[in-house]
């Protein structure tokens, strides 16, 4: 996919029509759009998302996306439209994707959403023939699946979140989608369904037990599938709402009255996040400790009995044995008693010695005795150590719980303080935040419930399926339908194994790439990798071996995430070029909004320098201050097209200012932004 042009009409800051042409050259593959804060960089990024999928990342979603100047200029009753058209090239064809939304102007500058959004795609084939696509939604997902969109069109201010633990599900999903592993998952699902369909046929000629089992397996399978899909949707919703909440909190920091309180709340929230992580770790450690020492605890009564028995025998003088069997054997063999007399011919003596041998101890018994004694001595110590460790962990957990609760109380107090500030905008933001917090809590509860329910259901499913398969084995061995059921199940199982195999393979390959890019940029002696549970992790070298580097700065997290995205793009490109049977891959552009935000001068320069190598086409939206700093120098040789975002303002500052590349006085009396090509 290479983006050629975007036309924007009446979208957010862009009044009337604006056009942006992107560089598609291989050598100069970078297009830069630079502008001041609020001039429309994030709007441009969202223009792509709205055009392709009808969505935006703004906390108000698709509300208020109609340009305000257009509304003010129109007369009541007039129809207004937002149009965004993206022209791009993909696998030899030229696509023209266009989305249009209609509105009507109402009195007092209000607008009515006419809810008539149209989305069209026209495709011009290599032969020159142009066709209208009947299923544009499917078509755009064929080119760039919606789930992958955030990896290629991303907001730099949020990118560091990728390096967070909570994003592992998202990372796994992205890898699976991009590498074609989704089709393996689908294949497995469809084969299971096909097996159910054959089972229905088989049930018609089988007994009630089979029928009921087949129904149970089908029901549990459906249940698992529905719950899995619900879980993934809830996680997605959770991610979106968290981002919205962050945006609201960011806005609260822009008001003088709420800034300090919001900063304090953010700090407390961060602390609570860390406490929650610690508590989860503590919970895992306690479980491990209990599991490991289960035998020590459960064997207590047995150990006590054993102790009493050994003690009793010790007191009786039976343990340890004074006379050992090999000693008696030696006496008989050497034919000499301990008093010096011969034993030979003394039948009653030999008999007595043999009898004594039966109750005498031997090496084996001695060994058992000493190991039992040792175990009993240690048992007490192990139990003591276990108790102490458990107590220590429990105390730490209680402390964390208490601290978390205290912080929560502070947070709710801050909420009340912000809510009582006499500023309607702040109150509205705080209400929105409260609502989102409640919704997030509910989502979190539902996610956790499902995460417990699904493994339980899977356990049930395994048991019931085994019973069903047993019955099927007993049925006519060579019945056609049973053979078909068995074939469907066998192939489904192999797809399941292939899924694990490929996921692992792709993860390892990505891990290597992430580390390669990461080390080229990062200054510290650390390495980046994707862990088995798909977390983007950083390890630092120490004398004791590699240890996880938990504390990363925002800038370092950004570099990590950027390395991850660039690795995805390069692996996708490689797989696309190879054209393998299982992996699809693809060629994708990299469109970044403010990717240099939290980076210091050195990182900024290195990232800007390497950014052009990250993908075949790179589009960067950057602040004027960053662009005019070292970013321009670092990537100048690769820039094909560059644009300046100009904000037309009605303020006195704009009127009285002599010359400013990014700000102009608006003679129309409306505020809006335009684009100007620069050399």
């Amino acid at each position: 996919m290479k983006i050629k042009t975007i036309f924007i009409k009446n979208f957010r800051q862009f009044w009337k029509e604006s056009t942006l042409n992107f560089s598609c050259s291989n050598e100069k593959n970078v297009t830069v759009i630079h502008g001041a804060n609020g001039s429309g960089k994030t709007s441009l990024l969202n223009a792509f998302k709205w055009c392709f999928y009808g969505k935006t990342d703004f906390d108000t979603g698709t509300e208020n996306i109609l340009n305000e100047a257009a509304i003010q200029k129109a007369t009541t009753g007039d129809e207004l439209e937002i149009v965004i058209t993206v022209i791009f090239e993909h696998e030899g064809a030229i696509y023209n994707a266009s989305r249009k939304a209609l509105y009507r102007k109402l009195p007092n500058n209000a607008v009515e959403d006419l809810k008539t959004v149209t989305f069209k795609i026209q495709k011009t084939l290599e032969s020159g023939e142009t066709i209208s696509i009947d299923t544009p939604v499917s078509e755009i997902n064929k080119v760039l699946p919606e789930g992958l969109h955030p990896y290629f069109f991303f907001n730099g201010e949020r990118i560091e979140k990728l390096a967070g633990v909570n994003e592992s599900g998202q990372i796994k999903e992205a890898i699976k989608r991009l590498m074609g592993l989704k089709q393996i998952e689908r294949a497995e699902r469809h084969l299971k369904k096909a097996s159910e369909s054959f089972r229905k046929v088989n049930a018609e000629s089988s007994d009630e037990t089979y029928q009921s089992l087949a129904q149970t397996v089908e029901r549990i399978n459906d249940d698992v599938e529905n719950k899995k899909s619900l879980l993934s949707n809830l996680k997605l919703e959770y991610g979106e709402k968290s981002k919205r909440k962050e945006d609201v909190e960011k806005k609260l920091k822009t008001y003088e009255e709420s800034k300090a309180l919001q900063n304090q709340r953010s700090l407390l929230n961060d602390t609570n996040e860390r406490i929650t992580e610690d508590m989860e770790l503590n919970e895992r450690q306690r479980k491990e400790l209990i599991d490991k020492n289960r035998a020590v605890v459960l064997s207590q009564s047995l150990v006590q009995k054993c102790e009493a028995l050994v003690d009793k025998n010790r007191k009786k003088g039976l343990l340890p044995y004074k006379v050992r069997a090999p000693f008696i054997d030696d006496l008989i063999e050497q034919d000499v008693c301990i008093c010096g007399r011969t034993i030979h011919g003394q039948n009653n003596v030999i008999e007595l010695l043999n009898k004594a041998k039966e109750t005498a101890g031997n090496d084996e018994l001695d060994e058992v005795y000493s190991s039992v004694s040792y175990y009993l001595k240690n048992q007490e110590q192990s139990l003591k150590e276990y108790d102490e460790k458990l107590q220590e962990l429990t105390e730490a957990q209680n402390k964390s719980r208490k601290r978390k609760k205290e912080n929560e109380n502070f947070i709710s107090e801050i909420g009340l303080k912000i809510g009582s500030i006499k500023n309607s905008e702040i109150i509205e933001l705080e209400e929105r935040r409260d609502k989102l917090t409640e919704e997030l809590k509910e989502l979190d509860f539902n996610i956790r419930t499902l995460e417990v329910e699904i493994p339980e259901l899977l356990g049930n499913l395994t048991g019931e399926t085994k019973s069903l398969e047993k019955l099927e084995k007993k049925q006519k061995d060579h019945s056609l339908v049973v053979r078909r059921i068995s074939a469907a199940n066998n192939v489904a199982k192999v797809f399941n194994e292939l899924n694990d195999y490929f996921t692992d393979q792709v993860r390892n390959s990505l891990s290597e790439r992430v580390d390669g890019t990461f080390r080229q940029i990062i200054r510290k002696n650390v390495r980046a990798y994707i862990s088995e549970d798909f977390q983007l992790k950083i390890e630092k070298q120490s004398k004791l071996g590699d240890i996880e580097a938990k504390e990363q700065s925002t800038g370092e997290k950004q570099v990590t995430s950027l390395s991850f995205i660039s690795s995805i793009i390069s692996l996708a490109k490689e797989k696309h070029v190879q054209g393998g049977k299982f992996f699809r891959g693809g060629l994708y552009p990299l469109v970044m909004d403010s990717p240099f935000g939290a980076l210091d001068d050195d990182y900024r320069y290195k990232v800007a320098e390497r950014v052009s190598n990250l993908a075949d086409q790179v589009i960067i939206f950057v602040s004027n201050s960053q662009w005019n700093g070292n970013v321009k120098d670092a990537c100048a040789s690769r820039v094909g097209n560059s644009y300046r975002l100009i904000h037309h303002a009605t303020t006195d500052v704009a009127k009285t200012m002599d010359s400013n590349e990014y700000l102009r006085f608006s003679n129309d009396g409306f505020e809006y932004s335009t684009l100007e090509e620069t050399s």
Partner: protein
């Protein structure tokens, strides 16, 4: 990978290959799970594939 696939009989390997090709064409249908008609169609196609491969004569 070969090790995993070699667990299957020849007929089952053929099913695997055909299902894979079939799923490649389904890949671009957005939200296949939600699109019940398409999902049913996809399952029926898999059923047909298995029926074609596992017959009386083999």
């Amino acid at each position: 990978m070969k090790e995993i696939i070699s667990k299957l009989t020849k007929e089952e390997q053929q099913i695997l290959q055909n299902v894979m090709t079939l799923e490649q064409t389904n890949l671009y249908i957005k939200d296949l799970k939600q699109n019940r008609t398409k999902e049913k169609e996809a399952i029926q196609n898999v059923v047909n594939l298995i029926e074609r491969e596992i017959r009386h004569e083999n």
